[in-house]
Amino acid sequence: MKILIVEDEKELLESICTFLTNEQYMCERATDFATALEKISLYDYACIVLDINLPDGSGLEILKELKSGGKEDGVLIISARNALDDKVYALKSGADDYLTKPFHLPELAARVAAIIRRKSFDGNNLIRFDEVIVDLNEKCVKVNDTVIDLTRKEYELLLYFISNKNRVIAKNAIAVHLWGDDMDIGGYYDFIYTHIKNLRKKLLQAGAPDYIKSVYGVGYKFSIT
């Protein structure tokens, strides 16, 4: 699947591409308005990651162009502006999601994955990872046909892990994903640890292998051994 990243800050663009590129995704880069416009007119993308503030134009113009051309590409807006109005406006203009800088790359990957899932035509709302099947419609998780009962946070955590399989996710990224940037309390790590411990226990009890590995206290990796 092809993903287009439109971002004028080259270092950030490189980070995003490096992080997203794997056996599933292929990334194309655009650092300015003109290149981005050209690319969207030539190709179809599964998802476009679009920065609003470009040196020679607004990302929102690209979005409008895309929508008026009747294109079905998924669009994730990334912006330094964290205002409700901007979000509402972007979503009304046809964007699928909105992410405020500075974001964690696993968060971006999870959002991109979610957009691609929603856009895929097969109507398949099941995500499969090894022996785990997540039914997005029913919000239920099965391991080898055994339904496991997860709390809302554990469910979100599992989905986040699957969207970032084989990658190391920082504890900070997990905290922001589960509680948002707003909740300002500190001592997140204990809660994360508790949730991960419970999730792992439930998966193991249902007969799944141990997917979750701690990486030197800095984060966790979800993978098949």
């Binding site: 992080f19 504890k171 500190g186 204990d190 206290g217």
Partner: protein, 417 residues
């Protein structure tokens, strides 16, 4: 003191002083001139008497004319004194004590010395003086009063543009769009003042806007480098050859970026509230919002063994909904963050107030510093110290009163509207 009052006070005092001084001076001058006049009359009388004695060697026959008496007294020694005096004596005709002017001198006739006292009544003179004084004083008074009134009226008219400018400037507030209106005035000084004020105000507006935009733009500009740092860290931890030492270094970097990002968000929020970007108000049903927040925090409270009691009534407040969320979030976060394991939080929502109290190891907070930006308690080093100033700022922007009290060993924050 008002300008008019100050001016009038000085003016009236000066006027009264001038009036008193002028009246007194006038009285004495007039009196002096009239007495001189009478003294001249008395000298003429003396000359007549001396002339008569020289010619006839006899004292003249004592003829009393209107208001004038001459008394001859026989004296033993030669009498050579000559003096003028003013005395009171009884008018033989009217039998009343009256002021008289007397000339006393000695004269020799028939080989005898006589003391002659010529007295002339001053009553007429006094009456004249009084009349003249009265008319004059009245005239002076009239002139002064008239000038005072004219001053007042004219001054008021002349200063009118000044007061107009004053009230315009009074209504002016930096940052609000109200245009300051200075009408043209023919008086050069006022015109100059208006021009100057206009220039200052415009400059203040421009500077204020620039400053406003600066803090907002600065915060936005910081977001992108922060995003770069975060993304590089996210990439770096993918490296499977990282050592434990390196990982812990990375964790510190993550935490610092997290803190910086939070700080930047808080500053941006404060700038946006100040820039009135949350002007859209609506009915906010607080009970629902508080219930939602309680369920959001439930998990954290359980993990920290914090017991929570609450009593919620229906309450509606007109404010920006986003700000209401942030306000509740900050209040709840504060009560949780500064609590201890096994502590307590009490939430009470009434029709027109919300009270949140929590236990804490911290002593009472100083109410004057509490809401200042970057205020930190000894144990709150981990935090950026903006949470309470955001609460305060939201309160000010939304017309909510925010109060802090320390009672029963609990920190109590009350929001009322």
């Amino acid at each position: 003191m008002k300008l008019f009052t100050k001016y009038s006070r000085i003016n009236v005092l000066a006027t009264i002083a001038i009036f008193l001084f002028a009246s007194a001076a006038y009285y004495y001058v007039l009196h002096y001139i009239l007495i001189n006049q009478i003294d001249e009359d008395l000298k003429i009388e003396e000359n007549e008497i001396r002339g008569y004695v020289n010619e006839h060697h006899l004292l003249p026959e004592n003829v009393s004319v209107q208001d004038q008496f001459i008394i001859y007294t026989l004296v033993q020694q030669p009498y050579t004194y000559r003096s003028f005096a003013t005395t009171n004596m009884i008018d033989p005709k009217e039998k009343e004590r009256e002021p008289f002017r007397q000339l006393t001198f000695g004269i020799a006739a028939n080989h005898q010395w006589y003391r002659v006292v010529v007295s002339k009544s001053l009553e007429e003179t006094e009456n004249l003086t009084r009349s003249i004084l009265l008319v004059t004083s009245f005239t002076i008074l009239l002139i002064l009063i008239t000038s005072l009134i004219i001053n007042r009226v004219v001054l008021k008219r002349i200063w009118k543009p000044f007061y107009h400018t004053l009230s315009s400037v009074q209504r002016f507030k930096v940052g609000n769009q109200y245009a300051v209106d200075f009408p043209a005035t023919p008086i050069e000084e006022f015109d100059f003042m208006n021009q100057t004020l206009k220039r200052i105000i415009q400059q203040a507006q421009v500077d204020y806007l620039a400053l406003k935009n600066f803090s907002e733009n600065a915060s936005h500009e910081i977001q992108t480098p922060l995003a770069v740092i975060r993304s590089k860290l996210d990439l770096l931890i993918q490296d499977e050859s990282l050592t434990g030492q390196q990982s812990s270094t990375l964790q510190s970097a993550y935490d610092a970026v997290q803190k910086l990002s939070k700080l930047n968000q808080s500053l941006l929020l404060l700038a946006k509230i100040e820039n009135k970007q949350y002007e859209a108000v609506q009915e906010v049903f607080l009970k629902r919002k508080v219930e939602q927040k309680i369920s959001d925090f439930q998990e954290l409270w359980q993990a920290q063994q914090i017991t929570v009691t609450y009593h919620l009534d229906d309450a509606v407040v007109y404010m920006n909904e986003e700000l209401a969320d942030i306000l509740l979030n900050n209040l709840f976060s504060n009560a949780t963050r500064h609590n201890f394991s096994g502590g307590h939080i009490a939430i009470e929502l009434k029709k027109n107030k919300l009270a949140i109290s929590n236990t804490s190891r911290q002593p009472a907070l100083p109410p004057d510093k509490l809401f200042q930006r970057f205020y930190k308690t000894a144990s709150g080093r981990e935090h950026n110290g903006l949470g309470l100033s955001i609460i305060k700022q939201i309160g000010e922007a939304s017309g909510l009163a925010i109060a802090y009290r320390f009672q029963n060993n609990q920190h109590l924050f009350t929001i009322s509207w």
